[in-house]
């Protein structure tokens, strides 16, 4: 009987062992295809390698000094791509592949806040209104809640080639507090004496017109941000008229796209660049032109009393996508960097010529530093000063939509159509587009 019992036990244990190993190994290989959400990684999307992306990377360095175990991925993408991807993802509710922090242009943020409520994180806990410049907070505040961290000042200024202006017979003083009509006169002289255009104009981009509008506190929409304001918009009409005379005066070179815009001044083909201060690092990239540039306040509209010698163009802020995970970590990142760190702002001033909307940054050392490139001018002081004077405007939800239609309208006007008639049509079109 014993032998049988022995046999039984032996066979049984062999079989069990066999099945357990098989079971075990099959289980182990089946298990892991778990999700990739790493609890210590945040991703940041931004455009413009020379400006925003550089800023993000510098912020990352600062942050990792005190938080070395957090991984920060800075991804550079074209703004159009970012906008498209965000829209697609947020409207379908898929968060896979979305960043934790995203840079959004001020013109656009209202769209996201109203179209996708709850997607942008409320950062009131980390952002104090009194720390930042008012005009910047306007676009990101709703019901007293602040939804982003203001970043750069898009304060507009007139960058110009001192040597070309001199050659045309003008001085630095002559360039201060100009009106656009005066600017056009100078441009004609520059063209005549140096053969260079005064500026470049892109028919598909109405940035010039936007700057002119905001300098007088006007926009495509009324203060409520919703009512289309075109047909009755005197400021806009004045701006378009100014634009037209700029064209007709022959002082502009027509271009299309970013590349020719940049290469124009980098190659020294234009005498001035009236645009946001964020163009500074791209200008200074042409190191051979050091000392030949200066910055003056933006010209104002000649026939509009409210128009000031300052405006805003572009500018963006940092936002946290609440549902992408790690949103608290992302908020903490922003709180420690862009929302408070004056040293970071100081570094960014010298690295990318950032004019920060953090009020405290005006105390930073570099802000008082004279810029060799710009002939020893303390450009940051100027920028900061002009920023405080920017008229606040409610961009509303439809800036780019309306501008698409406006571009058409401007062309019509340029071709000789009556401005009032055209604008009346545009108003209708815009209202229709907005309603949809």
């Amino acid at each position: 009987m014993h032998i049988k019992k022995m046999l039984a036990v032996l066979t049984a244990s062999l079989m069990l062992a066999g099945s357990l190993t098989a079971c075990g190994s099959s289980e182990s290989s089946g298990s892991d295809s778990a999700a990739n959400t790493d609890s210590n990684t945040i991703t940041i999307w931004a455009w413009d390698d020379n400006f925003n992306v550089k800023a993000a990377n510098l912020a990352k360095e600062y942050y990792q000094k005190t938080n070395p175990d957090v991984e920060v991925n800075v991804v550079s993408m074209a703004q159009a791509d970012i906008v498209q991807t965000l829209n697609t993802a947020l409207s379908s509710g898929t968060y896979n592949g979305l960043p934790n922090i995203v840079l959004i242009e001020d013109y656009r943020i209202q769209n996201y806040l109203s179209a996708y409520p709850g997607e942008i994180k409320d950062l009131s806990g980390s952002v104090k209104a009194e720390d930042f410049m008012d005009y910047k907070l306007g676009v990101m505040t709703e019901d007293d809640k602040i939804y982003g961290v203001p970043f750069d000042s898009g304060v507009a200024a007139l960058f110009y080639r001192t040597d070309y202006i001199e050659e045309a017979g003008y001085s630095a003083e002559d360039m201060q507090d100009l009106t656009w009509d005066e600017y056009i006169e100078i441009g004609k002289a520059v063209k005549e004496k140096t053969g260079k255009s005064m500026l470049t104009l892109d028919p598909s981009d109405l940035g010039q017109i936007r700057m002119m509008m905001q300098s007088a506190g006007a926009w495509y929409v009324q203060e409520d941000g919703k009512t289309v304001n075109i047909a009755e918009n005197e400021v806009l009409k004045e701006a378009v008229k100014t634009y037209q005379s700029m064209m007709e005066s022959g002082i502009s070179t027509q271009i299309s796209g970013w590349d020719p815009f940049v290469s124009a001044f980098q190659k020294g083909d234009v005498a001035s660049v009236p645009t946001g201060c964020w163009i500074a690092p791209t200008i200074t990239a042409a190191t051979d032109q050091s000392g030949k540039w200066a910055v003056a306040p933006l010209p104002k509209l000649s026939n509009v009393d409210e128009s000031l010698n300052t405006s805003n163009i572009g500018g963006a802020s940092w936002y946290v996508l609440d549902k992408v995970g790690n949103s608290d970590l992302a908020e903490q990142f922003l709180a420690e960097t862009f929302a408070s760190n004056v040293d970071l702002m100081n570094d960014l001033a010298s690295e990318i010529n950032l004019v920060s909307t953090l009020k405290a940054s005006s105390t930073a050392e570099n802000y008082s530093k004279p810029s060799e490139f710009f002939g020893g001018q303390e450009i940051f002081n100027d920028f900061s000063q002009w920023t405080t004077e920017i008229p606040t405007v409610n961009y509303g939800l439809y800036t780019y939509t309306i501008e698409d239609i406006m571009t058409e309208a401007v062309q019509s006007v340029l071709q000789g159509a009556d401005i009032d008639e055209t604008f009346a049509n545009t108003q209708v079109q815009a209202e229709a587009a907005v309603l949809n």
Partner: protein
């Protein structure tokens, strides 16, 4: 060790059955598993290969559509009056220029679409040096460099789009990255030379997007140009290199199975003619199979099933075989020689074991019966032997006695002759006619006296015999003619050369035994005394008597002889004392 060997041997039937069963189960399980694994693997790989082919075809059609879109863009540029103006007109008024550029942009945007715009870069370079770049990219080469490049020259010489792989494109989006570039010359009616060239720059990421979502650890994908250049792959180091082996595997000139990066792979592909590239799928068969956990699952199931089967079988066989072993055990108990014929084996177990037990029991009964028969036969034979032994009367004795009687009559001793005839007839009656084997001591004594009388008659009176019978043993049974041979023997042999002699016969009880002593004072018995005399009474010698006693009473009883030469002989017969209660 010995114990184990013994245990194995004593259970060899069970072990053999079990081992055959177990071996059978394992063999079948193995066979079935192997066959299933083999066919499943094949089926799976076939399906896998097929679905991969579907995938490559799908990717190919996606690429074809992509091609259509991009050629559409290039066509738009070619057809656009705005581009035509932009590329040809030297001087335009600002307003004209503004409108032209505005329209140019509009035309292109509508053809490009938002998706395509983010995937590729469109670059238009006019021979007049005017450029247009889509998106926010900048040029990384001067217009002269671009216009003088080999690629541009190739485009100029071709009427249809040219597509090729480059380590670098012309715009910032492709800076330092591999690109696949399409280019076409822009010619307007009536012109021989192109007024410009339109390039669609496809960065490697866009190429990768075509197939990347279909890649898995068992099926790697890559794009390969028609000449074997790797356009896009997850192994970025390989991009731009020419892989002839893979090309041959793909275009059918060589086997579709090859070794790639140390692994055996099967290659399937689809050729996107438009884009002039192969969508290649490298199937790592082993990895695919590993991912199915086929082996593990089947192995696991086989083990569990065989285990259960074996356990069940074991129990069942054990149960069936147990009665046999019980039988064996019981039977071996009877081995030692002392068969207990009354201890039957219980009838239990399956039909076979019950039959065995039943037959065994029957066998036991039969043996018992035969032994009884044997015993009976033997005893009968013994009786017959004894009977035979007892029934003899030597014919010589009769002749001699008759002769002596005749002599007596002849001598006129009529008295003596009458006595002698009486004695003789008594003796005859006792031996021949009386069938009884046992007689009483009294009767035997009587017989003896008659016999002695006869002997005295024939020979002389010089030998005197006395017979003493103890009172208490008169009725004891004694075999017929037990004592007679000794008396006869004494008569004939004891007194050679002696004048007279004395023979005493004593019958008495000693304990449970009847003892008969025949004592003479003769010359003793020589060792080799011949037993048979020609005219002895019955022919039964002394040795026969011993045999008879043994036959009747057993070995415990018998005869003892004590003889001293010159002094005499004493013969003691010992038999059990049995009272005769039977009527005469």
């Amino acid at each position: 060790m010995k114990k184990i060997l013994h245990a194995i041997r004593s259970n060899s039937l069970f072990l053999r059955v079990v081992s055959v069963a177990v071996a059978g189960v394992i063999l079948i399980t193995l066979l079935v598993s192997l066959i299933s694994i083999y066919s499943l693997q094949n089926a799976y790989l076939q399906t896998f290969s097929n679905s991969n082919h579907v995938v490559t075809e799908h990717i190919k059609s996606t690429m074809d559509r992509f091609y259509v879109e991009t050629t559409n863009v290039m066509q738009t540029v070619k057809r656009s009056w705005a581009f035509k103006r932009y590329l040809r007109m030297q001087d335009m008024t600002t307003v004209d220029a503004s409108y032209t550029i505005y329209s140019m942009r509009k035309h292109l945007d509508s053809a490009l679409g938002m998706r395509l715009e983010s995937d590729v870069n469109v670059l238009v370079v006019g021979v007049n040096g005017r450029t247009y770049v889509s998106g926010e990219s900048t040029l990384t080469h001067t217009t002269d460099e671009i216009l003088q490049s080999d690629f541009t020259k190739r485009i100029a010489g071709s009427s249809s789009p040219v597509i090729d792989f480059f380590a670098e494109g012309y715009t910032s989006v492709s800076k330092g990255k591999n690109v696949y570039m399409m280019g076409q010359a822009i010619t307007h009616d009536g012109d021989d030379t192109p007024s410009g060239y339109v390039y669609v720059i496809i960065p490697e990421e866009t190429m990768m997007d075509f197939y990347t979502s279909y890649t898995s650890d068992s099926g790697e994908m890559l794009l390969m140009q028609h000449d074997g250049t790797i356009l896009s792959s997850s192994h970025s180091a390989e991009i731009g290199t020419v892989d002839e082996k893979l090309l041959h595997a793909v275009d059918g000139t060589e086997s579709a199975e090859l070794e790639y990066r140390g692994k055996k792979v099967a290659v399937t592909s689809s050729y996107a003619e438009s884009m002039e590239c192969y969508v290649v799928n490298l199937i790592d068969r082993e990895q695919a199979l590993r991912n199915t956990n086929l082996l593990h699952d089947i192995f696991f199931v086989s083990c569990v099933v065989s285990f259960l089967l074996i356990v069940v079988m074991f129990l069942m066989i054990n149960h069936s075989v147990k009665p046999i072993y019980r039988l064996i055990h019981r039977m071996s108990e009877n081995e030692s020689g002392k068969i207990d014929l009354t201890s039957k084996i219980e009838i239990a177990g399956g039909y076979e074991t019950r039959e065995l037990a039943r037959v065994y029991n029957v066998m036991l009964d039969d043996i018992d019966h035969y032994i009884d028969q044997l015993v009976t036969e033997q005893s009968n034979r013994r009786k017959a032997e004894i009977h035979a032994l007892q029934m003899q009367i030597n014919p010589h004795f009769i002749y001699n006695t008759l002769t002596s009687i005749k002599w007596l009559i002849w001598q006129g001793e009529s008295e003596k002759s009458i006595q002698t005839i009486d004695a003789f007839s008594l003796i005859l009656r006792n031996t021949i006619s009386n069938q009884k084997e046992m007689i009483t001591v009294k009767e035997e004594a009587e017989n003896l006296r008659n016999y002695i009388f006869l002997l005295n008659t024939r020979f002389s009176d010089r030998i005197h015999t006395d017979i003493f019978v103890a009172e208490h043993c008169e009725n004891c049974c004694i075999p017929k003619l037990l004592v007679q041979p000794f008396v006869e023997n004494a008569f004939y042999h004891a007194f050679h050369g002696v004048e007279s002699g004395l023979i005493h016969v004593f019958f008495r009880k000693k304990g449970e035994n009847l003892v008969v002593e025949i004592i003479d004072n003769g010359s003793g018995m020589p060792a080799d005394a011949s037993q048979k005399k020609s005219d002895s009474f019955s022919g039964i010698g002394i040795h026969n008597v011993n045999d008879r006693i043994h036959l009747i009473y057993g070995e415990a009883y018998g005869i003892s002889i004590e003889s001293n030469l010159g002094l005499g002989t004493s013969i003691t017969i010992t038999i059990p004392a049995v009272e005769n209660h039977m009527p005469e």
